[in-house]
């Protein structure tokens, strides 16, 4: 009997297939096929029948209905997109700032880091104070009136800040952005845990010899940040922007609408169509963002 002799390279690549096999299996059966099926469902009517379901082809009817008939879909889509476009810069800027802070040496750094990563672990709904849906009144009732509305603790500062900035003569749009950032600092912080982590790891991977050389040449800290730190972490900047965009799409009102359409009004096809429009929107934004930013990214190696 002759045993087939494999070269080391073939053997290794066979092992590679073996190692990836569980994932590949899942990818095909739990991702690729459902993705295709969901597209088919969005194009056809799905009826639950005895012991199963049936589909009849309808064409683009559901998409048309979505944009022309559905009462809230358009607005929610635009709303969540605009909100995301506003949130992404503030989250990324804040997390870069926080990471630079946490990267310095000071006493109690371990504790500070542990606290900054806390929002990653606790679900956002628990950590936030739920200022919306009239709960502010309940909260103020509990903490007492001396505090004003506890839920609006941060937005009170927002108004004063707005007047201050207006006196300083800044353009209104910029003021709006800054005030939004300050009033939403809570959401921003609670959403930027993973981003801080990524930036921190990036900052630590920069070789100290670069800073030493720069210091010998006489750079200030400010210059060192823009000429060394910023280019060196720019690949991670891209990663973070992509992550933030994806993350902002995971919990918003649109998702809830998609879910409700499927399981409360049992309109599966409509829900699938929504999900596809939503997916198209996400990928469009991602492609634009990556296309714009990746030109500026500096790769060290």
């Amino acid at each position: 009997m002759k045993i087939i002799q494999l070269t080391l390279a073939t053997k290794r690549s066979l092992y590679g297939v073996l190692f990836v096999a569980p994932w590949l299996f899942g990818f095909i059966f739990l991702f690729a096929i459902p993705l295709y099926e969901s597209f088919v469902y969005s194009l056809s009517e799905l009826k639950l029948a005895m012991g199963g379901f049936e589909t009849t082809f309808k064409g683009l009817a559901y998409y048309k209905e979505l944009f022309t008939v559905h009462p809230t879909f358009n607005r929610l889509l635009v709303d969540s997109t605009v909100e995301m476009l506003l949130n992404v810069p503030s989250i990324v800027i804040f997390s870069l700032f926080a990471a630079t802070l946490l990267n310095q040496k000071f006493r109690g750094r371990g504790i500070a880091r542990a606290i900054f990563f806390l929002p990653v672990l606790l679900s956002a709904s628990v950590l936030s104070l739920e200022m919306s849906n009239g709960l502010g009144d309940v909260v103020s009732g509990i903490t007492g009136d001396t505090n004003g509305k506890a839920g609006e603790m941060f937005s009170m500062g927002g108004k004063e800040l707005m007047f201050l900035l207006m006196d300083a003569g800044l353009p209104l749009q910029l003021i709006g952005f800054i005030v939004d950032f300050v009033t939403q600092i809570y959401q921003v912080i609670s959403k930027s845990g993973v981003q801080i982590l990524i930036f921190l790891a990036a900052l630590q991977s920069i070789s100290p010899s670069l800073y030493e050389a720069a210091k010998i040449e006489g750079t200030t800290g400010y210059e060192a940040f823009w000429k060394i730190t910023f280019p060196m972490i720019s690949p991670m900047l891209l990663t973070n922007i992509v992550y933030t965009i994806i993350d902002s799409f995971t919990n918003n009102k649109l998702n809830k609408l998609i879910m409700d359409t499927a399981f409360q009004s049992l309109n599966f096809s409509q829900s699938a169509a929504m999900a596809w429009v939503y997916f198209a929107m996400t990928s469009l934004i991602l492609v634009v963002a990556v296309g714009l930013i990746s030109r500026k990214v500096f790769y060290h190696d």
Binding site: R12, S13, Y15, G16, L18, F19, V20, P22, W23, L24, F25, G26, F27, F29, L30, F31, I33, P34, L35, E37, S38, G52, L101, F106, G110, A112, A114, F116, F117, L118, V120, L121, L122, S123, V126, L127, S128, L129, G141, T143, G144, D145, N147, I189, L197, A201, A202, S205, P235, T239, I246, F249, I258, A262, S271, A272, A275, W276, Y278, L286
Partner: protein
């Protein structure tokens, strides 16, 4: 002796000459500003926790009393007790922790296997498949929600089951099987991200480590389990913690797959709604107590893992 003295005095002179009031002021003002910034931000993060902590120990009289602000006057565990019962805590807790542990275990195994394959065992098309991994991160899980749901509702492997039983698949909803299946095949919550983290870490390990194992007669699987995995502990801690906690907090998959089995993430809103009817203030208190019960296990876990986690961040190769 004399030489040492001389050197010492020179060192002293150097230090003395270097003292620069301007630089000193700059340095210490930065330290001050940094301290204020960091403690302020930490306060903002911890504020809701303190807030909840102060509420849950109050008695029902205290929440109407406007003179009681932070420290409860009548210290009691009543709201905890009510929330504990309303949540049906022991059973929900057990099912939550079961699901979280199962998914964490399977996810770590499947993701590290796939990541090792992508990082070190190149084969034709592995670059394309890795692009597919990134693609799974990008696609929102809502897009494949309906087929996934129907898939588990009428679960079938290539028509085999319906061939034998004559029915259209079996119902896997309300069991742990969907969670096991999707985490064992690397399709669970953010599995793509975990594969990415592991892959970057494996790529960062020196090649010599692996090669010397081969020279000593290890096969590929043995190398993976005995050389690569023990070296990947930092990445593993990160993935373990994330995987556990995200599954714990997740309400999307849980509400998709489970209707009768209750877990904490789905039970909390229901409880909140059931109390809100008669007394919103009291309901708010109970809700906070419930949330404390919900996050307590995660907080306790974090207290223990925190040190390794923060350390591991420095060494994980999240960086490309």
């Amino acid at each position: 002796m004399e030489k040492q003295l001389k050197q010492g005095s020179r060192g002293w002179n150097l230090r003395f000459r270097r003292f620069n009031p301007e630089r000193f002021a700059l340095k210490w003002s930065w330290v001050l500003i940094r301290a204020i910034l960091i403690s302020g931000l930490c306060y903002v993060i911890l504020y809701p926790l303190f807030f909840k902590l102060s509420i849950v120990f109050k008695s029902r009289i205290d929440i109407y009393d406007t003179t009681v602000l932070w420290i409860p006057r009548n210290f009691t565990l009543d709201s905890f007790r009510t929330a504990f019962e309303a949540l049906n805590y022991p059973t929900t807790f057990a099912s939550t922790i079961m699901i979280s542990l199962i998914t964490t275990l399977f996810q770590v195994i499947s993701c590290s296997l796939a990541a090792f394959g992508f990082a070190r065992l190149r084969f034709k098309g592995s670059g394309f498949l890795f692009a597919c991994v990134i693609f799974t991160i990008v696609v929102p899980s809502q897009t494949i929600m309906i087929p996934t749901y129907l898939n588990y509702r009428y679960f079938d492997v290539m028509g085999l089951i319906s061939l034998f039983t004559g029915e259209r698949g079996i119902n896997l909803l309300d069991t742990y099987w969907p969670f096991i299946l999707q985490s064992a095949t690397g399709m669970g919550i953010k599995s793509g991200l975990f594969i990415f983290i592991f892959r970057q870490f494996f790529r960062g390990l020196p090649k010599e480590l692996e090669e010397s194992a081969y020279i000593d007669g290890c096969g590929v699987p043995q190398t993976f389990f005995r050389i690569m995995l023990p070296n990947a502990v930092p990445a593993m801690i990160t993935v373990l913690l994330f995987s556990f906690v995200w599954q714990w907090n997740d309400s999307y998959f849980v509400s998709l797959y489970l209707t009768r089995v209750k877990v904490l993430a789905t039970q909390l809103p229901t409880m909140w709604a059931s109390f809100q009817m008669d007394d919103p203030l009291y309901a708010f208190m109970i809700k906070n107590a419930g949330e404390m019960l919900f996050i307590a296990p995660v907080l306790i876990l974090y207290l223990f893992v925190q040190r390794y986690f923060v350390e591991s961040v420095e060494r994980t190769g999240i960086v490309g």
